[in-house]
Amino acid sequence: MSKATQAGMGGGLLLLTGCAGVQSIAPSGGAHTAAFNNLFVIFLVVCGFFYLLVIGFLGAAILRRRREGDTGVPMLFRAWVALVSVSLVGLAFASWLTDRAMASYSEQGSPVRVRLTANQWWWDVTYFGASHSEDIRTANELHLPVGRPALIELKSNDVIHSFWVPNLAGKQDLIPGRTGDIALLPRKSGVFRGQCAEFCGAQHAHMALTVIVEPEAQFRAWSRRQLATARTPTTAQQLAGMAYVTTRECATCHAIAGTSASASVGPDLTHVASRSTIAAGTLPMGRGGLYAWIADPQGVKPGAHMPYIGLEARELDAVVAYLESLK
């Protein structure tokens, strides 16, 4: 497939998708989607051709005036069967070649290793460092360097989920009791969005994953920041917030590195404010989002495991102020 067709294809789909496209098969952000797009075009052309043939034949049959019985039709029939069979063999072969090519992408360059554990309804993310003491734990957000493959280990803590970042690659299920894997090879910087693609219960719709593909240097800087323990609060309000978060209900589920909160039921909050969304893509990160989420999680995401706590206004202010400072 020539570069031109590829560009045309991408452009075409881009047109269709309009301005959006952070969670779409186009624009392609990685090697897998590029290969996918090529294959998709092949299928589209072949299938389109056959569709035109059928419709043409049907139209001719309807509009035909003179009827002369079966003459010539048996010949046509044999040709049709042969054409269909040959095309299918061709398509199957193209599909197989693409699949093989995709499987080889993980071997290009030194990979980033990540473990993604799905929970109802959020993503637990662990980056494996040189040693385990350099592992990074975060949630609902993947940072990936451009041009390096990412080998992602997939696990589930409860039901079956499916990992899908359409701009980067196809799906892979996360199945309890099994460890799956998927390789990504991002080729372009950008912010993409992924979403759980296997029905996983009440809040299946609110289980998104932000993927930030960035240059190597930025990725390293991000990794360094993530490895640090949480910022110490500076204002009295933040201190009060920290006191609440690390000793009260919050600490029974969440961890903040550098404090006594070390629970692992909920997302790690050490650098929560550095992430772009709250509650797996349900709300944008920010003061408003934090207020909305903490004040009434069941209103925002009914059925989520984050409970309604009933903080007093003063406590809520303090907790939000503290969490906002966890960049």
Partner: protein, 637 residues
């Protein structure tokens, strides 16, 4: 002296005596006791269409919720129940039963039989089906509707993640419909194999009968898979078995294997009868026998066989070995070949015939235009790399609605229009029918065509809402508008059905000039179907006689329910067997079985104690009531 039909006994007297023999008893009990396949078939069809309408209303609710992003119309919990109910109802309570309904009504007529094989069994089947559907919908009304998807993947549907009885209601509905479908497939196979009119060799059978034969065998091999799987699921949930507990070494993927071993053939169980409809309509309205009959039969059989080799293509994202994937890709694509053959043969029939474009034929054209799109997008999702992107997105939603609505509902509506005069004795309105078709065709494409793009643009299935600004808003709104268009079209169709039922133009025995045997009897047919057993000499019996006298056989008893059984391949007259009388016991058996099934959702002891009344009912069902029944002539030992 035993009275038999023949030259001495024909005409009105024969009609009266046969009608007396074959009619059901009067009154409510008689109504409930009927074993007439036409009555049961009608009830089956009406019930199925009611479920179709209900599930359609659910679809409208879903589309309304999805019309705008972050809509708060219905809660996540309710939405999940609704999409599960929509899928389960459409698949289990509408698509399969409605095809069966039409089959049990028409297959005995098409093969020239007086009745269906195992008449009490098929009455039982209807009551089981009704019970299952009622249970599911009553549960839904009581907020115990299943919320696990029509596929009910474990462990989401298991005891830990789906509290209460919601999943059990789904799984037990499966048991009901599975019993119903299996019973019907036995009746249909029995009818096709043993009750064909003399001379109707297998290679002279109408293609719809062939389709139902293949489908019935598919049911026999596919349904046990889902029955077993749902039994495993219920026992996991009720008595703590460990089939699907990954921690103990159970396997959630086992569920998927068993489900799709049934689920993929299920698609063809719905689609193949529709191809039978298309063949019947195309033949009649093209005025020539179907082109490539042997290839059509081979295509049906091949599809039936291949359907069992494809289930893994629903599971590409689970991470099974890659080599296996290549095999399933190839197998999935292979199934396009028989479909291609069928499409070709239908168009070739039109090509070389003289097609009349009455409403049924319009639906056939609509079927070809839309189904081929669904088939070709099916070829796309058979490819592993493509499927991994498209799987569980709206692209797939678009794909299978093109296959199921384009490929099955269009032919179904066409065939209802086609056989409506046979069933009611009145024609449907051609004008309303054309409007209905046009609107349905447009609205259908308006609804589902955009979903191809919503899917490619990354919208997953089964989400109760989606964020704004993803580029999905407009497309979703268009789909919703289209969905209401479909609703209007369906309403139009129903209006047509009702007005025509009361006021339609009376139809003769053969208003369309069809050639198969159902057109040889009156419209609607008498309880005994045929006064004399017709004899068949070619694939097109009615066209052969061209309005002249139909060759028939004589000598069946008129005061007993006697049927002629013929040999398997050549349909040579062989045995005269008695057919069962009407009986209330199939209903009683169905009620006690339903109590057993519903009870076993709550306690395993229901199976033990419930089996006693079931046994009693079954014994009563089979116990001879008369002093001596037909076929019980003493044997001199």
């Amino acid at each position: 002296m035993i009275a038999r039909d023949g030259p001495e006994l024909q005409g009105a007297e024969l009609h009266d005596r046969l009608a007396r023999t074959w009619s059901r008893k009067p009154g409510l009990i008689g109504w409930l006791s009927t074993v007439d396949h036409k009555e049961v078939g009608r009830r089956y069809a009406v019930t199925a269409f009611i479920f179709f309408a209900l599930a359609g209303v659910l679809a409208l609710i879903m589309r309304t919720q999805l019309a705008t992003p972050e809509s708060g119309l219905i809660s996540a919990d309710r939405y999940n129940q609704i999409f599960t109910m929509h899928g389960s109802t459409m698949m289990f309570l509408f698509a399969v039963p409605v095809m069966d309904a039409i089959a049990i009504y028409l297959i005995p007529l098409m093969v020239g039989a007086r009745t269906i094989a195992f008449p009490r069994l098929h009455a039982f089947s209807y009551y089981m089906y009704l019970g299952g559907g009622l249970m599911l919908w009553i549960a839904f009304a009581l907020n115990i509707g299943p919320d696990i998807g029509w596929f009910a993947y474990t462990p989401l549907s298991g005891p830990e993640y789906d509290p209460g009885k919601r999943a059990d209601m789904w799984a037990q509905m499966i048991t009901f419909t599975e019993v119903a479908a299996l019973a019907l497939s036995a009746s249909i196979i029995g009818t096709i194999f043993k009750l064909r009119a003399p001379g109707m060799r297998l290679d002279r059978m109408p293609l719809f009968a062939w389709a139902m034969l293949v489908v019935s065998f598919m049911v026999i091999f596919a349904m046990p898979a889902i029955a077993l799987a749902s039994a495993f699921l219920i026992s996991d949930r009720l008595v703590g078995t460990q089939f699907f507990n990954p921690a103990e070494g159970g396997d959630p993927i086992l569920w998927q294997h068993m489900f799709w071993f049934f689920g993929h053939p299920e698609v063809y169980i719905i689609f193949l009868p529709a191809t039978g409809f298309v063949s019947q309509i195309t033949e009649t309205f093209s005025g020539r026998s179907i082109f490539g009959y042997p290839f059509m039969v081979l295509a049906l059989v091949a599809t039936g066989l291949l359907a069992f080799g494809l289930w893994v293509h629903h599971m590409f994202a689970t991470g099974l070995p890659r080599l296996g994937y290549a095999f399933y890709t190839a197998a999935s694509m292979t199934v396009a070949i028989p479909s291609g053959i069928q499409i070709f043969c239908w168009i070739a029939t039109m090509w070389s015939g003289r097609p009349r474009f009455a409403v049924p034929m319009l639906y056939v054209v609509g079927f070809i235009i839309t189904f081929v799109i669904g088939g070709l997008s099916g070829v796309m999702v058979a490819s592993v790399p493509l499927d991994l992107q498209m799987h569980d997105t709206y692209f797939v939603v678009a794909h299978f609605h093109y296959v199921l609505i384009g490929g099955a509902v269009f032919p179904l509506l066409g065939v209802v229009t086609y056989w409506f005069p046979k069933i009611t004795g009145r024609m449907m309105s051609e004008r309303l029918g054309r409007w209905g078709f046009g609107l349905l065709f447009a609205a259908f494409n308006l609804t589902f065509m955009p979903m191809h793009w919503t899917g490619l643009m990354g919208m997953p299935r089964r989400v109760y809402t989606y964020p704004a600004g993803m580029g999905w808003d407009v497309l979703n709104l268009v789909s919703t508008i289209g969905a209401f268009g479909i609703a209007v079209a369906v309403i139009l169709f129903l209006v047509n059905v009702f007005t025509s039922y009361w006021k339609g133009e009376p139809a003769g025995p053969n208003p369309w000039g069809g050639t198969s045997l159902e057109w040889a009897t009156t419209s609607p047919p008498p309880p005994y179907n045929f006064a004399h057993v017709p004899v068949v000499e070619s694939r097109t019996p009615l066209w052969d006689v061209d309005g002249g006298p139909l060759p028939v056989m004589t000598g069946l008893q008129v005061d007993e329910r006697e049927t002629l059984m013929t040999t398997l391949i050549d349909a040579e007259p062989d045995v005269l067997e008695a057919s069962a009388e009407p009986s209330i016991w199939p209903l009683v058996a169905a009620i006690v079985t339903a109590i057993l099934f519903v009870g076993s959702v709550f306690t395993p002891w229901a199976i033990v104690w419930g089996s006693i009344p079931v046994a009693i009912a079954l014994i009563a069902w089979f116990w001879p009531k008369k002093a001596l029944e037909p076929g019980e002539e003493p044997v001199s030992a």
